[in-house]
Amino acid sequence: MKLAIRTGAVFTAAALSLSLAACSASNEEPADTATSETAAEATETTEAMESLSGNLQGAGASSQESGMDAWRASFQELYPDVTVGYDPVGSGGGIEQFLSGAVPFAGSDGLLDAEEYATAVERCDGDGGAYHLPMYISPVAVIFNLEGVDSINLDAETIANIFDGKITTWDDEAIASQNEGVELPSSNITVVFRSDSSGTSDNFTDYLEQASNGAWPYEATKEFSTAASQSVGADGTSAVVDTVTSTPGAIGYADASRAGSLGTVALKVGEEYVPFSPEAAANIVAASPLSEDANGENDLAYAIDRTTTDSSAYPLTLVSYHIVCSQYDDESERALVTAFEKFVASADGQAAAASAAGSAPLSDELSAHVTAILDEIAAG
């Protein structure tokens, strides 16, 4: 069913790109000359903006889909002759399509592994391989359904024990001791988790693994599994939120923008309890080092430091990347990708995603850094 819909989408997109290619063929000449001056002054860029044309197709993570919708709409308003498409097939599918050369950029919640980095060197022009650009930063909320309780404080160890079934009732001493004055019922805890393979699960289990002092005995994985006997798996963010909402005493995790009126957990960071917020989510990215496997300094692949003690940061944060080539052999493709990605990283682009999807805007420094990297991307 899902497959059929997706194949349908691919076909429509292919048909669309064919017809667009036909329209834009006559405009190709001006597009090339105009976009080679993208670094020019503001007055000149308006000129370039009007003449950039073509079709840009991406594929990948569904987590950034609503952000992507906002970016596409605003970008196409700026450049009426450009069509941007995005197929939310999932991170794995997006990377697959990017590495096979089917799309010029991919959206992904996770980082490329060594083998995929190697394939990217072959796929991209030159020897530079591919870069990760953090574009969509979103806090993940631990949500619960307890009547009359909006927020509770928990440390990572307690959360790990709850999700692994070692703590089974809400009035357990481990929970109560962190929440004096909150009336906790003696009811059982129902653990709700993502039954599908997802980047949200990956980030959540990575947080538990890193921050819980060994209370979480498993490795970070996209496929959540638990020993808790009172647990329910649900397919997708909406189903998790629905299940928690309809089950008194349930606890789960979901993208913070979808938490709605459910209670949320403030995580213990250092000595304080930090509720999720866009600012705190952006701070953890700024405070994290780049991954050891990163492809040079232009590859902004973060190894999020979940164990931080900086209480201005929210460690349970999902970073969704755009994966682009360090060099494109086709000038018009390079112009389209860099123009679009620059818009996404800009204050306007980040604000559009923040209002549409509740994501955390990139800090000004990070935004400027991404723009500088995009300026270096060359055409072969």
């Binding site: 999932g90 083998e115 496929e223 009172q230």
Partner: protein, 332 residues
């Protein structure tokens, strides 16, 4: 001169050589032959695709597949073969639940429409049943998870309280059936989905029963039920089996409804009132596909191949049963 060289097979066509419909006739012959062989070509293409795409995963299954595919964990007893085993078990279990519930109800509906209901009611009911068959599975899934599952939960609790000593109905550890998103719910929703198919086909079969057989039975003093047992069932047996197998085919391959209802897990457990115990092949593929890498997709296609083989086996079995039974029915 040349006619003597023609093979016997083409002679009938040449007999009509002067007939105005001759060209149309031969065009039709080739078209229908083409349509017939298209089935074989499609089947062969699907089988080839599955085998070719599954091969990288099968050949790596003994080696480092677990390192490269996130959902395959040989160290946790979830290697490719083990997962396929769990999934085949889950698929068959849920389909069997669906058949056990769906078949008697469908036969009942079909008998009511064909032999008991007044003609006008029968017609209306027939349309309604056909309409049920047209409801997309995602709607059944949504309805199942939003309406049916919460509705069934107290009933499951009752079942667990009174019959929990039967392993089939054992409740979760705490003794409380805290969710209705279990294999039994998936089976019930699948049963509802296959009822229209089974009852529509059996209804048609029952209506074909020779009137003379029925009247003969009634004339010998049989009640209506005895008449159905003596005349309708023997005549319609192969048709009923065929209808059930059609239903089973839909149940085996159903994705959306199962995906939305069941809280999945990978075990050989018989506890159909506990969540996180079972999953079906189709639903598992849908859950893992979006995030799967190249080898992951190959592994999922291997599971698809397993489903393909099961469906093929079921159909061949049905064919065999039908052909064995046909000599006893009144159809010949």
């Amino acid at each position: 001169m040349t006619t003597t060289e023609q093979s016997p097979g083409t002679e009938p066509a040449s007999d009509y050589g002067t007939h105005p419909g001759a060209i149309a006739n031969s065009i039709f012959k080739y078209l229908s032959t083409g349509a017939g062989s298209l089935i074989l070509v499609t089947l062969a293409a699907v089988a080839t695709f599955l085998l070719v795409e599954a091969w990288p995963a099968i050949s790596a299954a003994g080696g480092d597949l677990g390192d490269k595919v996130s959902f395959i964990k040989p160290e946790d007893g979830q290697g490719l073969l083990e997962i396929i085993g769990f999934l085949v078990y889950g698929t068959v279990l849920i389909s069997v639940i669906a058949l056990l519930i769906g078949t008697p109800v469908s036969i009942g509906i079909a008998l009511f429409i064909s032999h008991f209901a007044p003609r006008r009611v029968a017609q209306g009911l027939g349309y309604l049943i056909d309409l049920l068959a047209a409801v997309p599975s995602v709607v059944y899934g949504l309805w199942g998870v939003a309406v049916l599952v919460p509705f069934l939960q107290p009933f499951y609790q009752w079942l667990a309280d009174n019959f929990g000593w039967i392993p089939l109905f054992a409740p979760p550890e705490s003794g409380e059936v805290f969710t209705g998103r279990v294999a039994l719910s998936a089976g019930i929703v699948l049963a509802i989905m296959i009822i229209p198919i089974i009852s529509a086909v059996s209804r048609e079969v029952f209506l074909q029963t020779p009137k003379l057989h029925e009247e003969a039975a009634l004339a010998m003093g049989a009640t209506r039920w005895e008449m159905i047992r003596m005349a309708v069932f023997p005549f319609g047996r192969s048709g009923m089996i065929g209808a059930t197998m059609l239903g089973l085919g839909r149940a085996l391959g159903e994705t959306m409804a199962v995906l939305m209802i069941i809280s999945p897990g990978l075990t050989f457990s018989s506890h159909i009132l506990q969540p996180n115990q079972h999953n079906t092949i189709a639903a598992y593929i849908a859950l893992q596909f979006p995030e799967a890498n190249a080898l992951g997709v190959n592994s999922l296609i291997t599971m698809g191949l397993a489903l393909f083989l099961i469906t093929l086996l079921v159909n061949m079995l049905a064919r065999w049963v039908v052909s064995r039974r046909s000599e006893f029915s009144g159809a010949n």
